[in-house]
Protein backbone atom coordinates (compact mmCIF):
# COMPACT_ATOMS: atom_id res chain seq x y z
CA UNK A 1 0.00 0.00 0.00
CA UNK A 2 2.66 2.47 1.04
CA UNK A 3 4.98 1.07 -1.57
CA UNK A 4 2.33 1.58 -4.17
CA UNK A 5 1.77 5.20 -3.10
CA UNK A 6 5.48 5.90 -3.33
CA UNK A 7 5.77 4.12 -6.67
CA UNK A 8 2.92 6.03 -8.26
CA UNK A 9 4.36 9.31 -7.03
CA UNK A 10 7.72 8.38 -8.53
CA UNK A 11 6.18 7.38 -11.83
CA UNK A 12 4.14 10.55 -11.93
CA UNK A 13 7.15 12.74 -11.28
CA UNK A 14 9.07 10.89 -14.01
CA UNK A 15 6.36 11.55 -16.54
CA UNK A 16 6.23 15.20 -15.46
CA UNK A 17 9.89 15.63 -16.38
CA UNK A 18 10.96 16.26 -19.96
CA UNK A 19 13.80 13.77 -19.46
CA UNK A 20 11.50 10.76 -19.40
CA UNK A 21 9.63 11.82 -22.50
CA UNK A 22 12.78 12.54 -24.46
CA UNK A 23 14.22 9.19 -23.45
CA UNK A 24 11.07 7.47 -24.69
CA UNK A 25 11.27 9.41 -27.94
CA UNK A 26 14.97 8.86 -28.55
CA UNK A 27 14.83 5.14 -27.81
CA UNK A 28 11.80 4.75 -30.03
CA UNK A 29 13.46 6.64 -32.85
CA UNK A 30 16.69 4.64 -32.71
CA UNK A 31 14.70 1.46 -32.43
CA UNK A 32 12.64 2.29 -35.49
CA UNK A 33 15.78 3.11 -37.45
CA UNK A 34 17.50 -0.15 -36.49
CA UNK A 35 14.36 -2.11 -37.16
CA UNK A 36 13.93 -0.66 -40.62
CA UNK A 37 17.53 -1.40 -41.53
CA UNK A 38 17.19 -5.02 -40.48
CA UNK A 39 13.87 -5.43 -42.18
CA UNK A 40 15.31 -4.03 -45.41
CA UNK A 41 18.14 -6.58 -45.25
CA UNK A 42 15.68 -9.36 -44.57
CA UNK A 43 13.53 -8.46 -47.55
CA UNK A 44 16.56 -8.60 -49.82
CA UNK A 45 17.46 -12.16 -48.86
CA UNK A 46 13.90 -13.35 -48.39
CA UNK A 47 13.77 -14.94 -51.85
CA UNK A 48 16.86 -17.03 -51.16
CA UNK A 49 15.60 -17.94 -47.68
CA UNK A 50 12.42 -19.37 -49.09
CA UNK A 51 14.50 -21.97 -50.96
CA UNK A 52 16.17 -23.15 -47.73
CA UNK A 53 14.84 -25.87 -45.54
CA UNK A 54 14.20 -24.77 -41.92
CA UNK A 55 15.12 -21.22 -42.80
CA UNK A 56 15.30 -18.69 -39.97
CA UNK A 57 12.16 -16.52 -39.94
CA UNK A 58 11.62 -12.82 -39.47
CA UNK A 59 11.63 -13.08 -35.67
CA UNK A 60 15.08 -14.58 -35.65
CA UNK A 61 16.59 -12.40 -38.34
CA UNK A 62 15.00 -9.04 -37.57
CA UNK A 63 13.53 -8.77 -34.11
CA UNK A 64 16.15 -10.59 -32.06
CA UNK A 65 19.18 -8.69 -33.45
CA UNK A 66 17.36 -5.40 -32.95
CA UNK A 67 16.51 -6.34 -29.38
CA UNK A 68 20.17 -7.12 -28.83
CA UNK A 69 21.03 -3.62 -30.01
CA UNK A 70 18.38 -2.15 -27.74
CA UNK A 71 20.16 -3.72 -24.77
CA UNK A 72 23.16 -1.51 -25.47
CA UNK A 73 20.93 1.54 -25.73
CA UNK A 74 19.34 0.64 -22.39
CA UNK A 75 22.80 0.48 -20.87
CA UNK A 76 23.24 4.12 -21.82
CA UNK A 77 19.76 5.28 -20.99
CA UNK A 78 18.85 3.61 -17.68
CA UNK A 79 21.55 5.41 -15.65
CA UNK A 80 19.94 8.66 -16.78
CA UNK A 81 16.63 7.50 -15.39
CA UNK A 82 17.99 6.20 -12.11
CA UNK A 83 20.40 9.02 -11.37
CA UNK A 84 17.85 11.27 -9.71
CA UNK A 85 15.93 8.69 -7.69
CA UNK A 86 17.59 9.36 -4.36
CA UNK A 87 20.33 11.89 -5.03
CA UNK A 88 17.83 14.50 -6.19
CA UNK A 89 15.70 14.04 -3.08
CA UNK A 90 18.77 14.37 -0.98
CA UNK A 91 19.83 17.53 -2.74
CA UNK A 92 16.45 19.22 -2.63
CA UNK A 93 16.07 18.05 0.99
CA UNK A 94 12.77 16.37 0.29
CA UNK A 95 14.13 13.11 1.69
CA UNK A 96 13.17 14.29 5.19
CA UNK A 97 9.52 14.08 4.17
CA UNK A 98 9.87 10.34 3.65
CA UNK A 99 12.15 9.78 6.61
CA UNK A 100 9.84 11.44 9.12
CA UNK A 101 6.76 9.72 7.73
CA UNK A 102 5.75 6.31 9.08
CA UNK A 103 7.60 4.42 6.34
CA UNK A 104 10.38 1.90 6.58
CA UNK A 105 13.56 2.21 4.56
CA UNK A 106 12.63 -0.89 2.57
CA UNK A 107 9.32 0.68 1.64
CA UNK A 108 11.03 3.84 0.45
CA UNK A 109 13.55 1.94 -1.70
CA UNK A 110 11.04 -0.56 -3.05
CA UNK A 111 8.55 2.21 -3.81
CA UNK A 112 11.12 4.12 -5.80
CA UNK A 113 12.29 1.00 -7.58
CA UNK A 114 8.80 -0.12 -8.54
CA UNK A 115 7.97 3.37 -9.78
CA UNK A 116 10.94 3.26 -12.10
CA UNK A 117 10.09 -0.28 -13.12
CA UNK A 118 6.68 1.01 -14.16
CA UNK A 119 8.39 3.44 -16.49
CA UNK A 120 10.68 0.75 -17.88
CA UNK A 121 7.64 -1.40 -18.53
CA UNK A 122 6.07 1.42 -20.56
CA UNK A 123 9.30 1.79 -22.52
CA UNK A 124 9.53 -1.92 -23.29
CA UNK A 125 5.85 -2.36 -24.10
CA UNK A 126 6.25 0.32 -26.74
CA UNK A 127 9.06 -1.74 -28.23
CA UNK A 128 6.68 -4.67 -28.63
CA UNK A 129 4.34 -2.72 -30.88
CA UNK A 130 6.67 -2.55 -33.87
CA UNK A 131 7.17 -6.34 -34.24
CA UNK A 132 3.41 -6.77 -33.89
CA UNK A 133 2.97 -4.53 -36.93
CA UNK A 134 4.58 -7.30 -38.99
CA UNK A 135 1.67 -9.58 -38.16
CA UNK A 136 -0.26 -8.10 -41.05
CA UNK A 137 2.09 -9.70 -43.57
CA UNK A 138 3.33 -12.84 -41.87
CA UNK A 139 3.59 -14.79 -38.67
CA UNK A 140 5.91 -14.36 -35.70
CA UNK A 141 7.54 -16.82 -33.36
CA UNK A 142 5.78 -15.63 -30.21
CA UNK A 143 7.76 -17.89 -27.89
CA UNK A 144 11.03 -16.44 -29.06
CA UNK A 145 9.65 -12.92 -29.03
CA UNK A 146 8.48 -13.34 -25.45
CA UNK A 147 11.78 -14.80 -24.32
CA UNK A 148 13.74 -11.97 -25.92
CA UNK A 149 11.40 -9.39 -24.43
CA UNK A 150 11.73 -11.00 -21.00
CA UNK A 151 15.49 -10.82 -21.42
CA UNK A 152 15.26 -7.09 -22.08
CA UNK A 153 12.99 -6.59 -19.10
CA UNK A 154 15.23 -8.49 -16.70
CA UNK A 155 18.28 -6.72 -18.03
CA UNK A 156 16.68 -3.29 -17.68
CA UNK A 157 15.44 -4.16 -14.18
CA UNK A 158 18.96 -5.21 -13.21
CA UNK A 159 20.40 -1.97 -14.64
CA UNK A 160 17.79 -0.02 -12.67
CA UNK A 161 18.65 -1.72 -9.37
CA UNK A 162 22.35 -0.98 -9.81
CA UNK A 163 21.54 2.60 -10.81
CA UNK A 164 19.31 3.05 -7.77
CA UNK A 165 22.14 1.97 -5.50
CA UNK A 166 24.55 4.39 -7.15
CA UNK A 167 22.00 7.15 -6.72
CA UNK A 168 21.76 6.38 -3.02
CA UNK A 169 25.48 7.02 -2.60
CA UNK A 170 25.62 10.64 -3.63
CA UNK A 171 23.71 13.87 -3.82
CA UNK A 172 24.84 14.70 -7.36
CA UNK A 173 22.67 13.11 -10.06
CA UNK A 174 25.39 13.35 -12.72
CA UNK A 175 27.81 11.55 -10.44
CA UNK A 176 25.24 8.82 -9.91
CA UNK A 177 24.73 8.55 -13.69
CA UNK A 178 28.39 8.23 -14.58
CA UNK A 179 29.21 5.77 -11.80
CA UNK A 180 26.27 3.53 -12.61
CA UNK A 181 27.18 3.66 -16.29
CA UNK A 182 30.75 2.65 -15.39
CA UNK A 183 29.59 -0.18 -13.18
CA UNK A 184 27.16 -1.54 -15.76
CA UNK A 185 29.69 -1.34 -18.56
CA UNK A 186 32.23 -3.17 -16.44
CA UNK A 187 29.76 -5.96 -15.68
CA UNK A 188 28.96 -6.07 -19.36
CA UNK A 189 32.60 -6.33 -20.36
CA UNK A 190 33.38 -9.15 -17.94
CA UNK A 191 32.12 -11.38 -20.68
CA UNK A 192 34.69 -10.10 -23.16
CA UNK A 193 37.52 -10.58 -20.70
CA UNK A 194 36.37 -14.11 -20.04
CA UNK A 195 36.37 -14.90 -23.75
CA UNK A 196 39.84 -13.50 -24.24
CA UNK A 197 41.53 -15.54 -21.55
CA UNK A 198 40.37 -18.83 -23.00
CA UNK A 199 38.44 -21.79 -21.72
CA UNK A 200 40.63 -23.35 -19.05
CA UNK A 201 37.81 -22.94 -16.52
CA UNK A 202 39.50 -20.25 -14.43
CA UNK A 203 37.64 -17.52 -16.23
CA UNK A 204 34.20 -18.98 -15.89
CA UNK A 205 33.54 -16.97 -12.74
CA UNK A 206 33.98 -13.71 -14.60
CA UNK A 207 31.87 -14.97 -17.45
CA UNK A 208 29.24 -16.05 -15.00
CA UNK A 209 29.15 -12.62 -13.38
CA UNK A 210 28.71 -10.89 -16.68
CA UNK A 211 25.29 -9.40 -17.36
CA UNK A 212 25.71 -10.28 -21.01
CA UNK A 213 26.18 -14.06 -20.68
CA UNK A 214 22.81 -14.58 -19.07
CA UNK A 215 21.19 -12.18 -21.44
CA UNK A 216 22.47 -14.06 -24.50
CA UNK A 217 20.83 -17.29 -23.42
CA UNK A 218 17.47 -15.67 -22.94
CA UNK A 219 17.52 -13.73 -26.14
CA UNK A 220 18.21 -16.93 -28.10
CA UNK A 221 14.99 -18.26 -26.67
CA UNK A 222 16.44 -20.42 -23.93
CA UNK A 223 14.59 -19.63 -20.72
CA UNK A 224 16.84 -21.06 -18.09
CA UNK A 225 15.90 -20.70 -14.43
CA UNK A 226 19.57 -20.12 -13.56
CA UNK A 227 19.64 -17.05 -15.78
CA UNK A 228 16.44 -15.69 -14.35
CA UNK A 229 17.70 -16.36 -10.85
CA UNK A 230 20.91 -14.51 -11.66
CA UNK A 231 18.96 -11.38 -12.51
CA UNK A 232 16.68 -11.69 -9.50
CA UNK A 233 19.70 -12.09 -7.22
CA UNK A 234 21.40 -9.15 -8.87
CA UNK A 235 18.33 -6.97 -8.35
CA UNK A 236 17.77 -8.10 -4.74
CA UNK A 237 21.43 -7.58 -3.94
CA UNK A 238 21.48 -3.98 -5.09
CA UNK A 239 18.14 -3.20 -3.47
CA UNK A 240 19.37 -4.53 -0.13
CA UNK A 241 22.55 -2.49 -0.50
CA UNK A 242 20.47 0.64 -1.16
CA UNK A 243 18.32 0.02 1.90
CA UNK A 244 21.38 -0.48 4.06
CA UNK A 245 22.99 2.59 2.64
CA UNK A 246 19.96 4.78 3.38
CA UNK A 247 19.67 3.33 6.85
CA UNK A 248 23.38 3.78 7.47
CA UNK A 249 23.14 7.45 6.66
CA UNK A 250 20.87 7.93 9.66
CA UNK A 251 23.29 6.10 11.94
CA UNK A 252 26.70 6.96 10.60
CA UNK A 253 28.90 8.79 13.05
Amino acid sequence: MNIFTLASRELRSLFLSPLAWSILAVVQFLYAYLFMGRLEGFLQIQARLSLMEKAPDVTELVIIPVFANIATILLLVIPLLTMRLISEERRSRSLSLLLSAPLSMSEIILGKYLGLLGFILCLLLLLLLTPLSLLGSGSLDFGLLFSAWLALLLLAAAFAAAGLFMSSLTQYPTLAAITSFGLLLLLWLFNMAANNVGDDGSTSVLAYLSLLTHYENLIRGVINSADILYYLLFITGFLVLSIRRLDGERLQA
Binding site: N2, L6, S13, S92, R93, S96, S100, P102, A253
Partner: protein, 313 residues
Amino acid sequence: MSEYLLQATQLSRRFNHHTAVDNISFQVQRGQVMGFLGPNGAGKSTTMNMLSGNLAPSQGQITIAGYDLLDEPRLAKATLGYLAENPPLYRELTVYEYLQFCARINQIPRTKIASAMQMAMDRCGLHSVTHRLIGNLSKGYQQRVGIAQAIIHLPAVVILDEPTVGLDPIQIREIRSLIRELGQDHAVILSTHILPEVQATCDQVQIINQGKLVFRDSIQGLEHRLQHNSLYVAFHQPPALDALQDLAGVESCESLGNGQFRVHYKEATSPAEQLVARSVAQNWRLYELRPEQASLEDVFMDLTHNEVVESET
Protein backbone atom coordinates in the same frame (compact mmCIF):
# COMPACT_ATOMS: atom_id res chain seq x y z
CA MET B 1 0.02 8.12 30.59
CA SER B 2 1.72 11.40 31.25
CA GLU B 3 0.69 14.41 29.28
CA TYR B 4 4.23 14.77 28.02
CA LEU B 5 3.86 14.24 24.32
CA LEU B 6 7.53 14.42 23.60
CA GLN B 7 10.31 13.33 25.87
CA ALA B 8 13.97 13.42 25.05
CA THR B 9 16.25 11.78 27.53
CA GLN B 10 20.02 12.28 27.63
CA LEU B 11 20.28 12.79 23.93
CA SER B 12 23.73 12.92 22.38
CA ARG B 13 24.96 12.96 18.82
CA ARG B 14 28.54 12.77 17.70
CA PHE B 15 29.97 13.25 14.23
CA ASN B 16 33.43 11.70 14.18
CA HIS B 17 35.20 13.58 16.94
CA HIS B 18 32.80 16.47 17.06
CA THR B 19 29.96 16.34 19.54
CA ALA B 20 27.06 18.25 18.03
CA VAL B 21 24.56 17.55 20.80
CA ASP B 22 25.73 16.66 24.25
CA ASN B 23 23.47 14.94 26.73
CA ILE B 24 20.34 17.06 26.59
CA SER B 25 17.00 16.17 28.13
CA PHE B 26 13.66 17.91 27.88
CA GLN B 27 9.96 17.29 27.49
CA VAL B 28 7.03 19.08 25.91
CA GLN B 29 3.42 18.85 27.02
CA ARG B 30 0.22 18.96 25.05
CA GLY B 31 -0.85 22.56 24.54
CA GLN B 32 2.65 23.89 24.80
CA VAL B 33 4.79 25.72 22.28
CA MET B 34 8.43 25.21 23.09
CA GLY B 35 10.91 27.63 21.59
CA PHE B 36 14.28 26.16 20.80
CA LEU B 37 16.85 28.89 20.55
CA GLY B 38 20.50 28.91 19.79
CA PRO B 39 23.18 30.60 17.69
CA ASN B 40 24.16 29.06 14.37
CA GLY B 41 25.92 25.74 14.71
CA ALA B 42 24.72 25.23 18.27
CA GLY B 43 23.09 21.88 17.51
CA LYS B 44 19.53 23.04 16.88
CA SER B 45 19.05 21.39 13.54
CA THR B 46 20.84 18.23 14.66
CA THR B 47 18.41 17.98 17.57
CA MET B 48 15.44 18.58 15.26
CA ASN B 49 16.72 15.90 12.91
CA MET B 50 16.99 13.46 15.78
CA LEU B 51 13.52 14.25 17.09
CA SER B 52 12.05 13.73 13.64
CA GLY B 53 13.80 10.42 13.03
CA ASN B 54 16.04 11.71 10.25
CA LEU B 55 19.13 11.10 12.33
CA ALA B 56 19.71 8.41 14.92
CA PRO B 57 21.05 9.67 18.25
CA SER B 58 24.43 8.31 19.36
CA GLN B 59 22.95 8.00 22.82
CA GLY B 60 19.67 8.64 24.55
CA GLN B 61 16.02 8.05 24.03
CA ILE B 62 13.18 9.87 22.33
CA THR B 63 9.55 9.13 23.15
CA ILE B 64 6.74 10.56 21.08
CA ALA B 65 3.21 10.22 22.44
CA GLY B 66 4.39 7.24 24.46
CA TYR B 67 6.13 5.44 21.58
CA ASP B 68 9.87 5.05 21.49
CA LEU B 69 11.16 6.54 18.24
CA LEU B 70 13.86 3.92 17.86
CA ASP B 71 11.95 0.82 18.92
CA GLU B 72 8.58 1.63 17.35
CA PRO B 73 9.46 4.12 14.63
CA ARG B 74 6.28 3.52 12.65
CA LEU B 75 3.92 4.33 15.52
CA ALA B 76 6.05 7.20 16.74
CA LYS B 77 6.40 8.77 13.30
CA ALA B 78 2.66 8.49 12.68
CA THR B 79 2.11 10.99 15.50
CA LEU B 80 4.83 13.33 14.36
CA GLY B 81 4.80 16.20 11.90
CA TYR B 82 8.08 17.72 10.80
CA LEU B 83 8.94 20.75 8.75
CA ALA B 84 12.67 20.83 8.07
CA GLU B 85 14.64 24.01 7.51
CA ASN B 86 14.16 23.62 3.77
CA PRO B 87 10.56 22.56 3.22
CA PRO B 88 10.59 19.05 1.69
CA LEU B 89 8.58 19.72 -1.44
CA TYR B 90 8.20 18.10 -4.83
CA ARG B 91 8.30 21.10 -7.10
CA GLU B 92 6.82 19.29 -10.09
CA LEU B 93 3.57 18.43 -8.28
CA THR B 94 0.59 20.67 -7.64
CA VAL B 95 -0.31 21.58 -4.07
CA TYR B 96 -3.25 19.22 -4.26
CA GLU B 97 -1.22 16.25 -5.53
CA TYR B 98 1.49 16.88 -3.01
CA LEU B 99 -0.83 17.04 -0.02
CA GLN B 100 -2.64 13.95 -1.22
CA PHE B 101 0.66 12.12 -1.36
CA CYS B 102 1.55 13.35 2.15
CA ALA B 103 -1.83 12.24 3.46
CA ARG B 104 -1.31 8.77 2.04
CA ILE B 105 2.21 8.19 3.29
CA ASN B 106 1.12 9.35 6.72
CA GLN B 107 -1.41 6.54 6.77
CA ILE B 108 -4.58 8.56 6.85
CA PRO B 109 -7.47 6.19 6.05
CA ARG B 110 -8.67 6.60 2.46
CA THR B 111 -12.09 7.89 3.44
CA LYS B 112 -10.61 10.65 5.59
CA ILE B 113 -8.01 11.91 3.13
CA ALA B 114 -10.29 14.53 1.56
CA SER B 115 -11.30 16.05 4.88
CA ALA B 116 -7.72 16.01 6.17
CA MET B 117 -6.59 17.87 3.06
CA GLN B 118 -9.40 20.41 3.48
CA MET B 119 -8.40 20.98 7.07
CA ALA B 120 -4.71 21.48 6.24
CA MET B 121 -5.50 23.83 3.36
CA ASP B 122 -7.95 25.82 5.52
CA ARG B 123 -5.44 26.24 8.28
CA CYS B 124 -2.61 27.25 6.01
CA GLY B 125 -4.70 29.37 3.62
CA LEU B 126 -3.88 27.36 0.52
CA HIS B 127 -7.24 27.33 -1.22
CA SER B 128 -6.28 29.93 -3.80
CA VAL B 129 -3.26 27.92 -4.97
CA THR B 130 -4.64 24.37 -4.80
CA HIS B 131 -3.97 23.52 -8.43
CA ARG B 132 -0.76 25.40 -8.98
CA LEU B 133 2.64 23.80 -9.26
CA ILE B 134 4.61 24.04 -6.04
CA GLY B 135 7.70 25.09 -7.97
CA ASN B 136 5.89 28.19 -9.22
CA LEU B 137 4.67 29.36 -5.81
CA SER B 138 6.28 32.17 -3.85
CA LYS B 139 8.56 31.30 -0.94
CA GLY B 140 5.82 32.19 1.54
CA TYR B 141 3.33 29.83 -0.04
CA GLN B 142 5.92 27.08 -0.30
CA GLN B 143 6.54 27.49 3.41
CA ARG B 144 2.83 27.19 4.07
CA VAL B 145 2.63 24.06 1.98
CA GLY B 146 5.47 22.73 4.10
CA ILE B 147 3.50 23.46 7.26
CA ALA B 148 0.34 21.94 5.78
CA GLN B 149 2.35 18.79 5.13
CA ALA B 150 3.44 18.68 8.77
CA ILE B 151 -0.07 19.01 10.23
CA ILE B 152 -2.16 17.10 7.70
CA HIS B 153 -2.36 13.95 9.84
CA LEU B 154 -3.06 15.95 13.02
CA PRO B 155 0.07 14.71 14.74
CA ALA B 156 0.43 15.00 18.49
CA VAL B 157 3.85 16.59 18.08
CA VAL B 158 4.71 19.20 15.47
CA ILE B 159 8.35 20.12 14.92
CA LEU B 160 9.07 23.28 12.95
CA ASP B 161 12.63 24.21 12.08
CA GLU B 162 12.90 27.94 11.37
CA PRO B 163 9.48 28.19 9.74
CA THR B 164 9.52 31.93 9.09
CA VAL B 165 12.87 32.28 7.33
CA GLY B 166 12.53 34.22 4.11
CA LEU B 167 8.94 35.34 4.61
CA ASP B 168 7.65 38.89 4.44
CA PRO B 169 6.33 40.55 7.63
CA ILE B 170 2.67 39.84 6.88
CA GLN B 171 3.37 36.20 6.18
CA ILE B 172 5.46 35.99 9.34
CA ARG B 173 2.50 37.30 11.35
CA GLU B 174 0.19 34.75 9.79
CA ILE B 175 2.55 31.86 10.36
CA ARG B 176 3.07 32.92 13.97
CA SER B 177 -0.62 33.01 14.67
CA LEU B 178 -0.90 29.63 12.99
CA ILE B 179 1.76 28.28 15.32
CA ARG B 180 -0.09 29.66 18.33
CA GLU B 181 -3.24 28.03 17.10
CA LEU B 182 -1.45 24.72 16.66
CA GLY B 183 -0.07 25.02 20.15
CA GLN B 184 -3.55 24.79 21.61
CA ASP B 185 -4.06 21.14 20.91
CA HIS B 186 -0.66 19.83 19.83
CA ALA B 187 2.78 19.97 21.32
CA VAL B 188 4.86 22.25 19.14
CA ILE B 189 8.60 22.62 19.01
CA LEU B 190 9.79 25.69 17.23
CA SER B 191 13.42 26.15 16.39
CA THR B 192 14.54 29.66 15.63
CA HIS B 193 17.18 32.27 16.24
CA ILE B 194 14.78 35.20 16.19
CA LEU B 195 13.96 36.43 19.68
CA PRO B 196 10.71 38.32 18.94
CA GLU B 197 9.41 35.15 17.31
CA VAL B 198 9.88 33.23 20.51
CA GLN B 199 8.29 36.03 22.52
CA ALA B 200 5.32 36.12 20.18
CA THR B 201 4.60 32.42 20.04
CA CYS B 202 6.16 30.31 22.78
CA ASP B 203 5.27 29.34 26.33
CA GLN B 204 8.53 27.64 27.11
CA VAL B 205 12.01 28.48 25.98
CA GLN B 206 15.20 26.57 25.95
CA ILE B 207 18.53 27.71 24.69
CA ILE B 208 21.19 25.44 23.34
CA ASN B 209 24.79 26.41 22.90
CA GLN B 210 27.63 24.22 21.72
CA GLY B 211 25.45 21.17 22.04
CA LYS B 212 24.49 21.81 25.65
CA LEU B 213 21.25 23.06 27.10
CA VAL B 214 22.17 26.30 28.84
CA PHE B 215 18.78 27.73 29.69
CA ARG B 216 15.31 26.43 30.23
CA ASP B 217 12.41 28.45 31.54
CA SER B 218 9.01 29.87 30.78
CA ILE B 219 8.78 32.85 28.46
CA GLN B 220 8.33 35.12 31.50
CA GLY B 221 11.59 33.78 32.85
CA LEU B 222 13.34 34.67 29.63
CA GLU B 223 11.84 38.14 29.59
CA HIS B 224 13.03 38.66 33.13
CA ARG B 225 16.51 37.72 32.00
CA LEU B 226 16.30 40.17 29.20
CA GLN B 227 15.71 43.10 31.60
CA HIS B 228 18.96 44.87 31.65
CA ASN B 229 18.40 47.22 34.62
CA SER B 230 19.08 50.17 32.44
CA LEU B 231 17.04 53.00 30.92
CA TYR B 232 17.57 54.87 27.72
CA VAL B 233 16.61 58.56 28.03
CA ALA B 234 16.81 61.50 25.66
CA PHE B 235 16.30 65.20 26.34
CA HIS B 236 16.07 68.29 24.18
CA GLN B 237 17.80 70.28 26.91
CA PRO B 238 20.04 67.73 28.52
CA PRO B 239 21.10 68.24 32.12
CA ALA B 240 24.61 67.68 33.36
CA LEU B 241 25.63 64.04 33.82
CA ASP B 242 25.92 64.58 37.57
CA ALA B 243 22.28 65.64 37.83
CA LEU B 244 21.24 62.18 36.59
CA GLN B 245 23.78 60.42 38.70
CA ASP B 246 22.28 61.98 41.83
CA LEU B 247 18.90 60.30 41.35
CA ALA B 248 18.10 57.63 43.93
CA GLY B 249 18.97 54.10 42.82
CA VAL B 250 21.18 55.12 39.93
CA GLU B 251 24.41 53.19 39.78
CA SER B 252 26.06 54.82 36.86
CA CYS B 253 25.31 56.99 33.90
CA GLU B 254 26.80 57.35 30.47
CA SER B 255 26.28 60.00 27.87
CA LEU B 256 25.59 58.79 24.35
CA GLY B 257 25.85 62.32 22.88
CA ASN B 258 23.06 64.47 21.45
CA GLY B 259 21.23 64.64 24.75
CA GLN B 260 20.90 60.86 25.02
CA PHE B 261 21.90 58.93 28.11
CA ARG B 262 21.98 55.40 29.40
CA VAL B 263 21.15 55.12 33.09
CA HIS B 264 22.08 51.93 34.93
CA TYR B 265 20.26 51.29 38.17
CA LYS B 266 20.17 48.75 40.98
CA GLU B 267 17.79 45.85 40.70
CA ALA B 268 14.14 46.81 41.35
CA THR B 269 14.82 50.50 41.92
CA SER B 270 13.96 51.99 38.57
CA PRO B 271 14.41 55.76 38.65
CA ALA B 272 12.00 56.32 35.79
CA GLU B 273 9.32 58.04 37.80
CA GLN B 274 11.76 60.38 39.52
CA LEU B 275 13.41 61.12 36.24
CA VAL B 276 10.20 62.26 34.66
CA ALA B 277 9.27 64.39 37.66
CA ARG B 278 12.71 66.00 37.72
CA SER B 279 12.63 66.64 34.00
CA VAL B 280 9.33 68.49 34.28
CA ALA B 281 10.46 70.48 37.27
CA GLN B 282 13.74 71.54 35.72
CA ASN B 283 12.56 71.71 32.11
CA TRP B 284 14.97 69.17 30.60
CA ARG B 285 12.35 68.46 27.93
CA LEU B 286 12.40 64.70 28.08
CA TYR B 287 11.17 63.21 24.80
CA GLU B 288 12.11 59.55 25.06
CA LEU B 289 12.35 57.09 27.91
CA ARG B 290 12.46 53.33 27.55
CA PRO B 291 13.73 50.38 29.50
CA GLU B 292 16.53 48.67 27.62
CA GLN B 293 16.36 45.04 26.65
CA ALA B 294 19.24 42.75 26.17
CA SER B 295 19.54 41.25 22.72
CA LEU B 296 19.53 37.53 22.28
CA GLU B 297 23.27 37.71 21.71
CA ASP B 298 23.68 39.32 25.12
CA VAL B 299 21.68 36.54 26.70
CA PHE B 300 23.75 33.95 24.86
CA MET B 301 26.93 35.63 26.00
CA ASP B 302 25.62 35.87 29.51
CA LEU B 303 24.49 32.26 29.62
CA THR B 304 27.53 30.74 28.02
CA HIS B 305 29.71 32.32 30.65
CA ASN B 306 27.61 30.78 33.37
CA GLU B 307 27.35 27.17 34.35
CA VAL B 308 25.18 24.79 32.38
CA VAL B 309 21.70 24.85 33.87
CA GLU B 310 20.61 21.39 34.85
CA SER B 311 17.08 20.69 33.78
CA GLU B 312 14.65 20.77 36.69
CA THR B 313 12.60 17.73 35.65
